[in-house]
């Protein structure tokens, strides 16, 4: 969707008033999306955010320069897939190499593998069957900025996520070549990026061997038909559909099978959720403690993509509300919309099913909106009956925010 700067300036000068058709609602979306995030973000987070373009990217919302953390303005989520140049960027550590494809090697081994080996990028592409999976990539802490009370960390709004068609090889095929020993418990991923100081723990993650050998877990070398952008993990990254992006190791260089639970800061201390507070099917048992468990599947969630706090819709003219819904891979069964602050709900129309790990677009038609103020809400339910929360399940790291959105709009 092309963003016309002159139209934006005109529309914002007129106070976000929409005149005309549903497409004008998109223009209002462009205008309203000039904000750098929802008003509920910490004031300092809004003040220190700027629209800035990393090399190869369109202008995204800068949360931090170094390491780069940039989120995607919501209007880009009106497309079924998020274009590579608009895809969000997230790094923990500032030592980010520019990987040379010819020199890149993937090391596959570990003490729970029979036959360690190395692959060039060419070998990875040629020697294993290519598969594709459409999957949402979402930061565990997406919407952390909306936590109440606020918690420290990267103060994301809605945009630390994106949907892409990922092409690569099955991790299970690569591991089969290495030969997993009976005692293989976890598969450890390491990327070429790393800390500036040697005392800072490197970003290394593990997944249970059953998740690693799931047919949907892939090592991707293409995203939406192109090579991965540098900032999204060139040349190869891990894709763990349904699980949060912390496991989706970028700039992958090492895959190791281990027979003991991997110990490292980013597994043991970070990315942990309290046990029993979130409905989960996928549990990372080998990493559980009495107190907590690693974050795994995404929680069911939805987002308005063409409507914002304060949007104004023209009275009597048909309008179409748009949004997306997604979950940890069970599929979206329904999205319901309320325009009276939750008193009554009606089903939205679900768009094309692009696969259970992709988000599902939805629309809700307002054929003849009457003048007034409306509290508009959307609630998704997935195929195993999980639905969004109406109240935040607070946790200090700020994970799993799937509170039903409530947006105040006006028809005038």
């Amino acid at each position: 969707m092309v963003f016309d700067r002159r139209e934006f300036l005109k529309a914002s000068a007129s106070g976000l008033v929409v005149a005309g058709t549903g497409s004008a609602l998109s223009m209002a979306a462009s205008a309203a999306d000039s904000t750098l995030g929802p008003a509920a973000l910490p004031a300092g987070a809004l003040q220190s955010s700027v629209l800035e373009a990393l090399p190869g990217k369109v202008a995204l919302i800068k949360k931090s320069y170094r390491p780069p953390n940039f989120e995607t303005p919501v209007r880009y989520f009106n497309e079924p897939f998020t274009s590579n140049d608009a895809f969000f960027v997230r790094y923990h550590l500032a030592g980010i190499p520019k990987v040379d494809a010819a020199a890149w090697r993937l090391s596959v081994g570990g003490e729970a593998a029979e036959k360690p080996f190395e692959l060039t990028l060419d070998q990875l592409r040629r020697e294993f069957q290519a598969v594709e999976v459409a999957a949402v990539c979402q930061c565990s802490g997406n919407r952390r900025g909306l936590s109440d009370p606020h918690v420290p960390g990267v103060e994301w709004g809605y945009g630390a996520m994106g949907n892409a068609n990922w092409k690569g090889v099955r991790l299970k095929d690569v591991l089969a070549r290495a030969g997993l020993k009976k005692e293989a418990l976890e598969i450890v991923f390491d990327g070429a990026d790393g800390p500036v100081f040697d005392k800072t723990p490197d970003f290394v993650k593990s997944v249970p061997v059953w998740k690693a050998t799931d047919e949907n877990t892939i090592l991707a070398y293409e995203m939406n038909g192109e090579a991965l952008p540098h900032w999204n993990g060139y040349p190869v990254r891990v894709i763990v559909p349904g699980w949060t992006a912390t496991y989706w190791m970028k700039h992958l260089i090492s895959v190791r099978a281990v027979s003991e639970p991997y110990k490292g800061f980013w597994m043991e201390k970070a990315y942990r959720i309290p046990k029993g507070k979130f409905a989960l099917v996928d549990r990372f048992i080998s990493q559980e403690t009495d107190a907590n468990t690693p974050i795994t599947e995404m929680v069911v969630n939805s987002l308005f993509t063409n409507l914002y706090e304060g949007s104004v819709l023209p009275a009597g003219k048909p309008a179409v509300l748009r949004g997306i819904a997604w979950d940890g891979g069970y599929g979206i069964r329904a999205v319901e919309v309320s325009i009276d602050g939750g008193a009554s709900w009606r089903p939205a129309d679900l768009g094309m099913d692009l696969g259970r790990f992709s988000w599902r677009q939805w629309t809700y038609a307002l054929p003849e909106p009457k003048p007034g103020n409306y509290a508009v809400m959307a609630k998704a339910t997935n195929r195993i009956g999980a639905s969004q929360a109406f109240e935040l399940v607070f946790n200090p790291p700020g994970y799993h925010n799937n509170v039903v959105q409530r947006i105040n709009v006006k028809v005038a």
Partner: protein
């Protein structure tokens, strides 16, 4: 991993040109904060995390930088840093 790093064309990311646009509030301790924090990350992490952390919150954050992230901050600089963060980026 080290072997591979030698073989690959590595450029540790230089500070983006615009990082210099991030200006912290003037005040006692600002230089100590800048000198210590900027080694690992841009300074915008500080204003991003404001203004909702109280003294306990900023203290825990600085402690995490030292204990979990290995930041080489001298003991005598810790109270200077925490005082500055509380005063200029802390919950009013």
């Amino acid at each position: 991993m080290e072997k591979f790093l030698l073989a690959v064309l590595i450029a540790a990311a230089p500070a983006l040109a615009d990082e210099s646009m991030v200006k912290l509030a003037d005040g006692d301790g600002k230089q100590v904060v800048e000198a210590n924090c900027v080694t690992c990350h841009s300074l915008d992490y500080i204003p991003m995390n404001s203004v909702f952390l109280d003294r306990k919150g900023w203290d825990a954050t600085v402690t995490k930088m030292i204990k979990a992230m290995g930041a080489p901050i001298r003991n005598e600089d810790v109270p200077v840093i925490v005082d500055y963060l509380v005063r200029y980026y802390g919950k009013p």
